[in-house]
């Protein structure tokens, strides 16, 4: 299965505040029979600070890691963190688009990047390279109490020309993965409104306001839990939820789980193994599992583009 033979680039956050994301992805991959191959001695992708300061520096810091994947002889790499994904994919895209930029970046590297690596988010890898049918197979348990609002954040599928994944306005991949493991999802309008990103330290006022809107919209839609695919979104929505409440006069108490943790619970892994205890807002009885009750299978949602094509 060559399509599943991708490297896995965890990124720095997944060694620290996002360690539960890493643990849960590894367990999910194990249940799905996909080997996790981490590039040896990977370095930081550069993230927002690098591209904000200089595009050339950003390109080189990201491309060093693409070179490592190139050395492994693999077709591509998946990154769970959207910021890593975006940094790696943007470097690849801009180097493919401009020979001058490619040459400039390669001048900064010890080993040049040849431009052969397919970059995907790990969400995309699970959704497209593994697929919803296979994702449903290891399910052993149900989560009858959970009503999930999937929150995608800004850059998993944007800008569309670079990301090349899902719908840039109304994404459905996470919705479909969570539905595939039998958990209820709710639809809402703020699936990809920015939570405040990396401004939590220097401009907390912005994060408080923006995250407050996202949490309100999810709760109004009837969700009792939010699913994320980003360690920074998780941090803003969960770790900073008390700061948001204090600043905005709200009293939110909604748990924020990684989509991979929700999948892992249905596969029979324990909350402890999946790092759910690392979350600040206690999910309480939402993570209580029960036997699977057969129900009518919902058709996977389609993106606007796919629906158009089909008609």
């Amino acid at each position: 299965m060559a399509d599943k033979d991708y490297a896995y680039y965890p990124g720095c956050s997944l060694e620290g505040t996002g360690s539960a994301y890493d643990a849960s992805i590894r367990l999910v991959m194990q249940a799905l029979g996909v080997e996790v191959k981490e590039p040896h001695d990977w370095s930081c992708c550069g993230s927002t600070p690098a591209h904000a300061v200089d595009h050339l520096l950003a390109g080189a810091l990201a491309a060093r890691n693409l070179v490592l994947v190139q050395k492994m002889g693999l077709k591509g790499v998946s990154a769970p963190c959207p910021s890593c994904f975006s940094a790696l994919k943007t470097a690849h895209y801009r180097m493919a688009k401009s020979k001058a930029f490619k040459d400039e970046v390669n001048e900064l590297l010890d080993v040049p990047y040849e431009g052969t690596v397919d970059v995907r988010s790990t969400l995309q890898f699970i959704y497209e390279n593994i697929g919803v049918e296979e994702v449903a197979r290891p399910v052993k348990l149900a989560l009858p109490n959970m009503k999930v609002a999937p929150y995608y954040g800004c850059i998993l599928n944007r800008p569309p020309e670079i990301a090349q994944f899902d719908d840039p306005e109304n994404p459905v991949s996470m919705d479909n993965l969570i539905s595939a493991v039998g958990v209820e999802v709710v639809d809402y309008a703020f699936k990809m409104e920015c939570c405040g990103a990396a401004f939590g330290v220097p401009r907390k006022d912005m994060v408080n306001k923006l995250t407050h809107k996202v949490l309100s919209m999810a709760i109004e839609a009837g969700a009792n839990c939010i699913a994320v695919a980003c360690p920074l979104c998780q941090q803003n929505l969960d770790l900073r939820q008390a700061q948001v409440n204090a600043a905005m006069g709200s009293s939110f108490n909604i748990p924020v789980l990684y989509f991979s943790q929700i999948m892992g619970l249905t596969y029979g892994f324990t909350p402890k193994e999946l790092g759910i205890d690392k979350g600040v807002v206690d999910p309480g009885n939402l993570i209580e599992t029960g036997p699977i009750v057969p129900k009518e299978v919902e058709k996977p949602k389609k993106t606007k583009a796919a629906a158009k094509e089909a008609s």
Binding site: S43, C44, T48, R64, E107, R158, C194, R203, L210, V280
Partner: protein, 198 residues
């Protein structure tokens, strides 16, 4: 309302510079305002993003590079996704930050300091070290209590390390920074020479 005299303050070389560095043509913007309507940060900006585009068209270098907006943009890509003229607006904003940074103009100093603390950690270790970044930021800004309220949860749940994770190839990463700095220094020197002779 601020009145700008276009005949005395328009800098055509700035328009060219933005065009060249971003690979985007600001002239393609016809001011529909879609970017501003979707931008989650409009309420925090001094100039909404569509106005930044208009100011570029008018060659208003100082107003653009000294704006807070270019530092408060989070590159969420909403503007780029929705631009009917397919201008990569977020990339233009990022390019403006790059130029402002190179020229030593930072209207949002804390954000710039945070980015630098991040890059210093990256340069020293090859990977970033969250506690190190926060400490570096606090030392520079003297916001010593920033996020201290998160401490108990962060500690109890062991969300951070107390030692940086240094990679074997950090020399290689440092060489990237070194070659990059040399390249930019040379360009700066060449530009100064050209300006001097021109």
């Amino acid at each position: 309302m601020r009145v700008i005299n276009l005949s005395t303050t328009s800098d055509a070389s700035f328009i060219e510079q933005v065009k060249k560095e971003s690979g985007q043509d600001p002239a393609e913007c016809y001011q529909c305002g879609n970017c501003t309507a979707g931008c989650p940060y409009t309420e925090f900006f001094d100039y909404p993003v569509s106005m930044i585009m208009r100011l570029i068209q008018a060659g208003q270098k100082d107003t653009v590079l000294n704006s807070k907006a270019i530092w408060l943009c989070a590159t969420c890509e909403t503007c780029t996704t929705r631009c009917p003229c397919e201008v990569d607006v977020a990339h233009v904003m990022d390019t403006l930050r790059n130029i402002a940074y190179r020229e030593g103009r930072y209207t949002e100093k804390d954000i710039k300091t945070f980015y630098e603390a991040f890059l210093t950690s990256l340069k020293n270790n090859g990977r970033i070290y969250e506690l190190g970044i926060l400490m570096g930021y606090k030392a520079k800004t003297l916001h010593l209590l920033a996020d201290a309220d998160l401490g108990p949860n962060v500690l109890v749940k062991r969300l951070i390390h107390f030692q940086p994770n240094k990679i074997e190839g950090r020399d290689e990463v440092q060489r990237i920074f070194k070659r990059f700095a040399e390249k930019r220094d040379n360009e700066k020197r060449d530009n100064q020479k050209r300006d001097h002779h021109g």
